[in-house]
């Protein structure tokens, strides 16, 4: 009998039942969550002043109450969230079963919008890649907004992760030491990494430039090419350290590159939209489709977007590593 009970306790359903009831957490003590009881230790270190003892008792009461509440809350939270997830999945699956079949040309989403883009796209934009012609010509302001989203995200990460260097008190010194420690972790003399990076980084960056410049002829464009160049710069930084990258990429470079690309994008596309809306000649030649120098404004706009994306990806990495440039 006892053996049967042991088998039952080892079974999946028993553990599942325990988990639903909130007594057993499969990740408890196994997942890497650091539990530091800093506050409790600070409480224990207090001297036994009568007023403080009173406060301490009060605090313990509140702590007890919140922990009891949290236990109940977690129990209900788990059950409710499982129920919500299952119901959402079932509702979505029922909806999918009523949708029209995939791959059918008569589906309602293949309407006159995509017909216009496909049939008139080459003639009006000059781009062989219809997607690139669509996002950089018909819906160019959407892409402009997205480049701005990237820039704003980089600014927010800079604000969140910045180390404050003002003042000379001990806390600031500690932070500066922490930053210096992160620099020590760089493999400055890793021969294997440096040799591999010496061969790979130029290839990666040249491939990124190829993807950007051929954005209107083949798959790719500013977003993917910029991300590839950013990844190449990150590899270079990891192999050779901050000293070498700071020679050509500092905060000033980031600021001015992103600012001038966004301004050029805004001005060029505003001009193009203004002349187009007023039925004027824009004077931008479309060229013959298939050449590199063709399709009007799409090539310069691709370069602008690529610069913004590459700078932002590299800036994210640098700011995560050492907090600011």
């Amino acid at each position: 009998m006892s053996r049967l009970k042991k088998n039952y306790e080892r079974s999946f359903f028993y553990r599942f039942k325990k988990w639903v009831e909130g007594e057993y957490d499969p990740f408890d003590g196994k997942l890497e969550i650091k539990n530091t009881n800093r506050v409790k230790k600070e409480l224990a270190n207090h001297t036994q002043n009568p007023m403080e003892v009173f406060y301490q008792e009060e605090e313990e009461e509140i702590e007890h109450a919140t922990e009891e509440g949290l236990k109940w809350y977690q129990k209900i939270y788990k059950i409710v969230s499982v129920v919500i997830c299952l119901s959402i999945i079932s509702v979505l699956l029922i909806t999918v079963s009523y949708l029209p079949k995939i791959g059918n040309p008569d589906n309602p989403d293949n309407n006159e919008v995509s017909k216009r883009y496909i049939e008139k796209g080459l003639e009006e934009t000059g781009a062989t890649n219809i997607v690139s012609g669509m996002i950089l010509d018909y819906r160019a302001f959407d892409t402009f907004g997205e480049s701005n989203v990237l820039f704003i995200a980089a600014c927010c990460v800079l604000i969140l992760l910045r180390y404050d260097f003002g003042g000379k008190d001990s806390a600031n010194l500690k932070k500066i030491n922490a930053e210096a420690n992160d620099r020590i972790y760089e493999p400055k003399n890793d021969v294997i990494l440096q040799r591999v990076a010496f061969v790979l980084v130029p290839m990666i960056i040249i491939f990124g430039i190829y993807v950007i410049l051929n954005g209107h002829l083949s798959p790719g464009g500013g977003f993917s090419g910029g991300a590839i160049i950013g990844a190449g710069l990150i590899l270079y930084l990891n192999a050779f350290g901050f000293k070498k990258t700071e020679r050509f990429f500092s905060q000033k470079t980031f600021k001015w590159t992103v600012f001038s690309s966004l301004t050029f994008y805004c001005l060029a596309k505003s001009y193009s939209f203004y002349t187009g809306a007023n039925h004027m000649e824009s004077g931008i030649p479309l060229g013959t489709a298939g050449n590199i120098l063709s399709s009007g404004l799409i090539l310069p706009l691709n370069i602008c977007v690529g610069l913004v994306v590459a700078c932002t990806m590299y800036a994210f990495y640098v700011m995560f590593r050492k907090g600011g440039f």
């Binding site: 530091t36 499982v82 999918v96 079963s97 496909i118 003639e123 969140l160 977003f223 995560f320």
Partner: protein, 124 residues
């Protein structure tokens, strides 16, 4: 139930992935796991959109030999939408990771419940 559940298996997979991501987001207490769950939800939505634009037996939307006929290429609109979405999702996850680092510096833990308890004690 309609009859197209097994014909639309890509959309079914997208919905299941959405559910898995949502469950990860709700049930885990670790912040990094929550961010991964949100990323999975993101890509599930992109898979749904991209499978809406797919048409069987047609080519990718790149003009070959100056043939501009609607019957040759797939629908390019969802591709454009998803292309913008992927890059935005990177900046969103970078922002969330930066917030996680800030929370870790302040409270020295990744557990959301622990953070809530500590912040309640301090706000008193």
């Amino acid at each position: 139930m309609g009859g197209n559940l097994f014909a639309n298996y890509e959309e079914v997979v997208a919905m299941i992935l959405f559910g898995i991501g949502f469950t990860t987001l709700l049930l885990h207490r670790n912040m990094i796991k929550k961010i991964i769950g949100l990323n999975i939800m993101d890509s599930a939505v992109y898979l749904f959109l991209a499978s809406k634009g797919y048409i069987e037996g047609r080519l990718a939307p790149i003009v070959v030999n100056n043939v501009t006929d609607m019957e040759v290429y797939i629908n390019p609109v969802p591709s454009g939408l998803v292309l913008t979405g992927i890059v935005v999702s990177v900046s969103v996850s970078a922002l969330m990771l930066a917030l996680t680092i800030r929370l870790y510096r302040r409270y020295h833990t990744l557990d959301l419940d622990e953070i809530i308890i500590q912040s309640k004690k301090e706000g008193k």
